[in-house]
């Protein structure tokens, strides 16, 4: 009796803990600023599935080979995708207002990039974004 009960309990726990993979993409809010360009460097469905592959490849190219081309540069992604909140400050990567965290918090996959990388654009670009949005 206990054996079957323990199997039932473990099954229930398994379903509860691993149901995160059932989160879909459509019902999540995105905060994309389309003033700096009308599309991403790759089509949306490719980016959705493979953005980590582009990021990983570029990280190797930049660090080991010193290649700093703009297209797949992480800073370029951030300059476009992270726009300031209404009061001019940038969203923290721990909140869902941050573009990356909007999906990653829901899917519970930690974005370890921002342990080291700046999660917001540099001051110079920041000023430009504010100017653009106030126009």
């Amino acid at each position: 009796m206990y054996k079957i009960l323990s199997i039932k309990i473990s099954l229930a726990l398994f379903l509860v803990l691993f149901s995160g993979s059932s989160i879909t993409h459509e019902n999540i809010n995105h905060n994309i600023d389309i003033s700096s360009g009308d599309k991403c460097v790759e089509p949306t469905d490719i980016m959705r599935a493979q953005h980590h592959i582009f990021i990983n490849h570029q990280s190797h190219e930049t660090v080991v080979n010193g290649i700093r081309t703009k297209k797949y540069s992480l800073n370029n992604c951030i300059n476009c995708h992270i726009k300031p909140l209404a009061d001019g400050s940038y969203p923290s990567v721990k909140t869902e207002e941050h573009f990356c965290s909007a999906c990653h918090i829901a899917a519970a996959v930690k974005v370890e990039c921002f342990d080291c990388h700046a999660s917001k654009p540099y001051k110079k670009v920041a000023k430009k974004n504010i100017e653009d949005s106030s126009k």
Binding site: S59, V64, G66, I67, R68, N75, I78, D115, C116
Partner: protein, 247 residues
């Protein structure tokens, strides 16, 4: 075996000698450019070897311009914990034990050609780039600090706390080891200088000179040829890219 007939009529002769003439001139025109600024999509190569020449005679004890500039450039915050706060570059004050003679020099990662830190890193995160810059690949660093144990210059620091205000061109985060990277983001963009060298020159001291050790026409190579310079701890045979004059 096929026999090739050489066509040596006047037209071909003029063509080939013209090509030969142009190609002998071209290096003088093009190669000089490559030594300073390589295109963004070209990888770093061993054509260059970036280094520093530090003139201790020009360095003054109460000046900290290089340290301040470096901290600002890389977004290094002061947490008020000197034993654990990162220092890429520091001013070293030396006083001779017997004579009392004193001098001061900036000390940073020496970018050795045979770096002990690269030898001991278990994952290969500590590596030497093709153009001689010794870097930590923070994607692979596991934070074991073995490289810090092995560095003869105590050049490396470990990040002991969570960071939030990184600058985009110098990603740095808790749990990884870091050190002076010879302002690799500036080097790759072709700016041909480092933050510390820039600040030292602006301050008027001109004690730090950045350049390509592999380029015989660069100012640093000319100075290395002309003046007597030394490596720190040269007995270790590491062949550092940072050389000192006046010590």
């Amino acid at each position: 075996m096929k026999k090739y007939k050489i066509k040596l009529d006047r037209r071909n002769f003029l063509k080939s000698s013209g090509m030969l003439g142009m190609s002998s001139l071209a290096p003088g025109v093009f190669f000089q450019e490559l030594a300073h600024a390589r295109p963004l999509n070209e990888p770093a190569s061993s054509k260059n070897r970036w280094g520093l020449l530090i003139d201790a005679n020009q360095c003054s004890e109460d000046c900290n311009a290089c340290v301040t500039a470096c901290n600002e450039e890389h977004g290094i915050e002061d947490f008020g914990r000197p034993t654990t706060d990162t220092q890429y570059i520091r001013k070293l004050n030396l006083t001779h034990e017997d004579s009392g003679e004193s001098l001061t020099i900036p000390m940073m990662c020496q970018h050795c050609e045979n770096p002990p830190c690269v030898d001991v890193c278990p994952t290969g995160a500590s590596f030497i780039r093709a153009d001689g810059i010794v870097l930590v690949n923070k994607h692979t660093c596991i934070g074991c600090r073995y490289c810090m144990m092995s560095c003869p210059y105590k050049a490396r620091s470990f990040i002991h706390e969570n960071l939030e205000n990184q600058v985009p061109h110098t990603p740095r985060g808790k749990g990884c080891v870091e050190s002076c990277n010879l302002c690799v983001h500036k080097v790759d963009k072709g700016e041909n200088t480092t933050a510390c060298a820039e600040a030292c020159n602006k301050d008027g001291h001109q004690a730090i000179l950045f350049g390509d050790l592999n380029d015989p026409e660069s100012e640093i190579s000319k100075k290395l040829n002309k003046y007597k310079t030394t490596e720190v701890r040269s007995d270790l045979g590491l062949n550092t890219a940072v050389r000192y004059r006046g010590i």
